[in-house]
Each structure stands twice: as structure tokens, then as C-alpha cells.
């Protein structure tokens, strides 16, 4: 299972698939992996992304205007799996597109595509029994969010059913960049460590090399989402892949080489 973080901190990179178009998403994904992303979150655009800030909302709207569907995201995952066998691949989605596809059909298709894990934004552990069974049947890692507002007993439940890594939300709120990280993130990671030996990735609001380094002090990986999506928006289709490669190298402080790693 290629969800692993070779260098600390690891990098989980999010993109909304289909923004600006499927072919460009493919190239951006390859560029992100080659520039040093350990795990890619392939975002399924949704019409009502209530956990997302304006940047990802706009990206979702663009992707939906192109007609991007869950099926397209799975097809992209299959291509990436062939081309970059060592990269971690996660489907990041709201629940309704999965329900419409059919939970079992979705898990079978994701396994077939070589997907490693699934994160459903609006699926919480209490509602997850069938969801977990389906993921287990198809060898997909369930990745759950842990929030600063989650009390310890919830963190224990989240840790118990998570595989791959646990996604710690850095603050209360929706996705989107922020100037500085709050103390919430470190507190949450320390609390999570009491319940799990899985890697902990911190996300929401991480946009600069300084944030990335700061998260590396206490977490195993950082998730970068809105900052990447905003850079894609700014660069336009032609320049987006190279722009994202530079951005990721910048986060890593230029330590890594840009050649495709043979992992």
C-alpha cells in the first residue's frame, strides 16, 4: 500500500479533478508526484461543497461545467497508478456522488483503478459501519478527519477505524488559506498520538514553506489543497503543471530533485 511518507514531513497534495479540464488535471497530478507529493488527493467535484471555502468552490464549479464525474476521477486514478506506481492515491469526495454510483460499485471500481484510500468529507465514524465494510472488502484505506472540536473519545473511535493516515484539521472552519497556523493543530496532533501509531497529516490553511516546515515539527505530513487549487486557477491550463511543480518544490525548500522517482 503506497500511502507512506518517505521524507518528513510528507506532502499530501489535493486537486479538484476536472479543473480546468481532465487532461490538465492529469498533467498536474504527474507534475505534483514528480515534484515530491507523497500522496495525491483526487477531489471529486460536488455541486454543494459545504465544507469548502471559495477557492475549492470555484474549482468545483469549473470542473462540473466540464461535466467531470466520479467515473472520470476513477479513470484518472487508473492512469496515474500505471504511470506512477509508487504514488499514494486517495479519492476525496462528498458522500452523495458515491451513493449515486453505489457504494459497492464505487469501492470495486476504486480497487480496480489501484486507489489506496478514500476520504468522504461528510462521513463520520458513527454512520460508517457499512461504508467501512465495503472499503475493507476492497482493500481501500478509510481516511477520516479529526477536528480540534473532536473530544478524546471521538479521536479514539476515529483512530481505531482509520488506515493509511489520520487527517487532522488544523482549525475549526472550511478549507482555504490563512496567514498563520493556530495552536489548535499541534494540540490535536498530540491528542491523536495517544490513540494511534498511524501517521498524522495536518491540513486546512497550509499554503507556505513556513507553514509546511512548522507542521513538520509536530506532524508526519501536511495536506496542501486550496493553495494548489488557487495556483492552478492563477496559472491557467498551459502553465498549471509547471507552476504546481515549482510550488511544491518551493514548499519542500527545493530539497528534492524534479525527476520522476522510481519508488
Amino acid at each position: 500500500m503506497p500511502i507512506q511518507f518517505a521524507d518528513k514531513p510528507g506532502l499530501v497534495a489535493y486537486l479538484t479533478v476536472g479543473d480546468p479540464d481532465l487532461a490538465t488535471s492529469h498533467n498536474i497530478a504527474l507534475a505534483a508526484i514528480d515534484a515530491g507529493a507523497d500522496v495525491l488527493e483526487l477531489g471529486v467535484p460536488f455541486s454543494d461543497p459545504l465544507a469548502d471555502g471559495p477557492v475549492i468552490q470555484r474549482a468545483s464549479e469549473r470542473a462540473l461545467r466540464n461535466g467531470t464525474s466520479l467515473r472520470d476521477v476513477l479513470a484518472l486514478a487508473a492512469n496515474l497508478r500505471r504511470e506512477r506506481p509508487g504514488a499514494g492515491l486517495i479519492i476525496f469526495t462528498y458522500l452523495n456522488p458515491v451513493l449515486r454510483f453505489g457504494l459497492e460499485n464505487f469501492c470495486a471500481a476504486a480497487e480496480q483503478a489501484g486507489v489506496d484510500g478514500v476520504l468522504v468529507t461528510d462521513m463520520i465514524v458513527e454512520e460508517a459501519s457499512e461504508y467501512l465494510q465495503a472499503l475493507h472488502r476492497h482493500h481501500l484505506a478509510p481516511i477520516f478527519l479529526a477536528a480540534p472540536t473532536s473530544p478524546d473519545e471521538r479521536l479514539a473511535r476515529i483512530a481505531a477505524v482509520s488506515r493509511g493516515f489520520v487527517y487532522a484539521i488544523s482549525r475549526t472552519g472550511i478549507t482555504g488559506a490563512q496567514k498563520s497556523l493556530t495552536a489548535d493543530a499541534e494540540d490535536l496532533v498530540l491528542r491523536l498520538r495517544r490513540f494511534t501509531h498511524l501517521p498524522v497529516a495536518v491540513g486546512f490553511g497550509i499554503s507556505t514553506p513556513e507553514h509546511f516546515a512548522a507542521v513538520g515539527e509536530f506532524a508526519d505530513a501536511a495536506v496542501v489543497g486550496s493553495a494548489i487549487v488557487a495556483a492552478i486557477e492563477q496559472a491557467g491550463p498551459k502553465d498549471a503543471p509547471s507552476s504546481i511543480a515549482r510550488f511544491i518544490q518551493g514548499l519542500r525548500g527545493g530539497i528534492r530533485e524534479t525527476t520522476a522517482p522510481a519508488r
Binding site: 458513527e126 476515529i158 475549526t172
Partner: protein
């Protein structure tokens, strides 16, 4: 997906809690506080007093003799929720939840609104209790229910326009949830319909049960028997579940929910979830949802902002599947016609939402016998709709 869960708040397979993790602790806290309040006689005493002296309960059950005569069938009674303070049933729930927010020590209230009636009721209770109030409203709804925007501002609320998606109720709820997830430690989300994550559908229903509790007693007093049918419009479904609830055990009473048929049966032209939708998850709850083949939520249309929503309260989904309640729809044109009819036979201008229930009554009553009794829940009054009515019914020209 067949659903198994460890969470309460299921109506058959429907309901549940599908939210970002950040909100779960707040929903747990709310569920706990609500259970405590329910068990506290003092809470009920305060609420009953406010409902009576402030909101104007009980509302009359009025025998509409001229409408009955005109339609020539069943005897028609109107449950006059339109006579409540702020002009709709929404105040029932807002008073209950505001008392709860105060108990919980929350001083910032947020809400969504479609037609603006829930927004006005929320702004009203916030003024009454001295609470900060922010109301999210789709920009399309701000335009078509402009009067209610002014009322909210008059009451000291901040109205935040929402420009995403269809710029209606669904988008206002998403934006309110984004606010809540950000300010969850200090903010109370006063949800206005029997929708959303547990415990909202149960709690909102409980605060509106008073509608059917009164109506049941009133009809027994007036007619010494139960009605043949209760008719209510269904957007999210708060007035309907309130009007149905105490009659659910009375198996012979037909429960009829009326959805917005809009301009026609094509996806995007209406808000008839049961004829055009499929089970799915939107904004925290599992219910019928208007959606496309990829699970993207469909756009909706109704002349009535309060019915213009892609999903429906989960308890209605269960009542639908069990066959206990029947759901139907009427078009924009039929609702407008019914508004005019009720205005001119009874001197009552219903809200466009409630006019959908009246329109269904217009269809059914003539086919029923004089022994039948129909109660129509007039959930709100039509003052807010005068702009739309003036345009659609061409009231500005010479008649």
C-alpha cells in the same frame, strides 16, 4: 445504501448525521441540551407562555364556509398559522430554539432563510432575547422576498446574500453551515426546517407539533370527529410535519403533503422530490434528493421561495415510503390561482407556499362528500408575496 448506524434520529432508513467532523461535537452538545430542556418543566412553561402571549397561540381553526360552498364537496377548515406573530408558523420553532440557545449560553445566532419567514422569525426572537443575529439568504430569494429582507434588517439582523449555486435556500444552508463550522464554539445554528443532521429534524418537528395538537382538539370540539384529510405544503417540511404529527396514529386521517410542481416535470423546473428525486445525502441528512445521474444536486424552481429546495425532511421520506402520508405536487400556476381564490372567497391572502396546500384542496374537495372534513394548514400569510402576485396576477393594470 441500506443504512445501519449507532446514531439516533433515524426515520426508517432516512435521517442520520452526515456532516464534517468539526460539527459533530456541537451536534452532540445540542442533542444533549435539547434532551435536558425537554425534561425540564420550566422550559415548557416558558415556551408555552411565549407561544401564547408573544406569538399568539392557539391559532384558530376556521371554517371556510364560502370556499366550501364554492368547491361544493368536503367541509374545509383552515388552520390559521398565518395569524401568528411574524406571519407564519416559523415562530414556533424559533422561540423554542432561541430558549435553547440561551440555556446553552450561546449569544450568536445564525440562520438560513428561503422565503424569508424563518429569517424574520429568527431576527425577531434574537431581538426579543438580545442575541446577535446573522441570516444567510440566496440573492435570488433576496430579490423576490425583498420585504422580508427589510424586516430582518429592521429587527437588527445582518442579512448576508449568498451568490453561489442557484442563489436560493440550498445555497443559504450551505453558507450557514460554513459559518457554523468556522464559529462553532460560540455560535448557535437556528435551522428553520425539519432538515439537516440529527437532532434538527426531530427537534424542529417537536416545536411544530403544537399545530396538530391544537388542530386535533379544535376539530373534535367543533365537529366531534376527526378530519378526513390534512393538507399541508412541503418545502423542507416543517409546517407539514407539525400539522401531521398528532394525526399519524389516527390511521383513517389522510395526510397529504404538497410539493412545488413549478413550471413542469422536467428536472430543474420544479421541487417535487418524491416524483423526481432519489435517496441521497444533502446537507447532513439522508432523504429524497433531486439529483442527476452523477449525484450532483439538481437546480430547482418554484414561484414560492419556501418550497424551492432539492431535498425534503427525512421524516417525510419515511412517511412517504410507508404510505402513511401521500405526497403530490401543484404547479406555480395552480398555486397562484388558489391564492386569488382564497383571497376572494374568504378574504385571506395565503403565502405562496401555503397556496400550494390550498390548490390541492381545490382539486380534491369537489370530489369528496359533504360528510368529509379537510383541514388545510395555512402556514403563512401572503404579504411578503405582493410583489410576485402583482406581477403574476397583473394587479397593477386595470381589471
Amino acid at each position: 445504501m441500506a443504512v445501519t448506524t449507532t446514531i439516533a434520529g433515524r426515520f426508517g432508513p432516512y435521517g442520520g448525521r452526515y456532516v464534517p467532523e468539526t460539527l459533530v461535537a456541537a451536534l452532540d452538545e445540542l442533542e444533549h441540551a435539547y434532551a435536558e430542556a425537554q425534561a425540564d418543566p420550566d422550559f415548557h412553561l416558558k415556551l408555552d407562555e411565549l407561544l401564547r402571549d408573544y406569538a399568539g397561540r392557539p391559532t384558530p381553526l376556521y371554517f371556510a364556509s364560502r370556499l366550501t360552498e364554492r368547491l361544493g364537496g368536503a367541509k374545509i377548515y383552515l388552520k390559521r398559522e398565518d395569524l401568528l406573530h411574524t406571519g407564519a408558523h416559523k415562530i414556533n420553532n424559533c422561540l423554542g430554539q432561541a430558549l435553547l440557545a440561551v440555556r446553552m449560553g450561546k449569544h450568536r445566532i445564525i440562520a438560513e432563510t428561503g422565503a424569508g419567514q424563518h429569517g424574520v422569525a429568527t431576527a425577531t426572537v434574537c431581538a426579543l432575547f438580545g442575541l446577535e443575529c446573522v441570516v444567510y439568504m440566496g440573492e435570488e430569494d433576496m430579490q423576490r422576498q425583498e420585504l422580508n429582507v427589510y424586516r430582518m434588517r429592521m429587527l437588527g439582523a445582518e442579512v448576508r446574500g449568498v451568490s453561489s449555486g442557484s442563489r436560493t435556500l440550498k445555497d443559504a444552508i450551505s453558507e450557514a453551515m460554513r459559518d457554523w463550522v468556522t464559529n462553532v464554539r460560540t455560535t448557535y445554528y437556528l435551522l428553520g426546517s425539519a432538515l439537516g443532521a440529527h437532532p434538527y429534524p426531530t427537534m424542529v418537528r417537536d416545536f411544530h407539533r403544537v399545530i396538530s395538537r391544537e388542530a386535533r382538539q379544535q376539530i373534535l370540539e367543533k365537529e366531534n370527529r376527526l378530519p378526513t384529510a390534512i393538507i399541508a405544503c412541503v418545502g423542507g417540511g416543517s409546517n407539514a410535519i407539525g400539522a401531521f404529527y398528532e394525526f399519524i396514529a389516527d390511521k383513517d386521517v389522510q395526510l397529504i403533503g404538497v410539493e412545488a410542481g413549478g413550471r413542469g416535470p422536467q428536472l430543474g423546473e420544479h421541487a417535487a422530490r418524491f416524483s423526481g428525486g432519489a435517496p441521497g445525502v444533502l446537507q447532513g441528512t439522508y432523504s429524497y434528493v433531486l439529483q442527476d445521474d452523477n449525484g450532483q444536486i439538481a437546480l430547482t424552481h418554484s414561484v414560492s421561495a419556501g418550497l424551492d429546495y432539492a431535498s425534503i425532511g427525512p421524516e417525510h421520506a419515511a412517511l412517504h415510503d410507508s404510505g402513511r402520508a401521500e405526497y403530490t405536487s401543484v404547479t406555480d400556476a395552480e398555486a397562484l390561482e388558489a391564492t386569488l381564490l382564497l383571497a376572494r372567497t374568504e378574504g385571506i391572502i395565503p403565502a405562496l407556499e401555503s397556496a400550494h396546500a390550498v390548490a390541492e384542496c381545490v382539486k380534491r374537495a369537489p370530489k369528496m362528500s359533504a360528510d368529509d372534513i379537510v383541514i388545510v394548514n395555512v402556514s403563512g400569510r401572503g404579504d411578503k408575496d405582493m410583489g410576485i402576485l402583482a406581477k403574476e396576477l397583473k394587479l397593477s393594470g386595470a381589471e
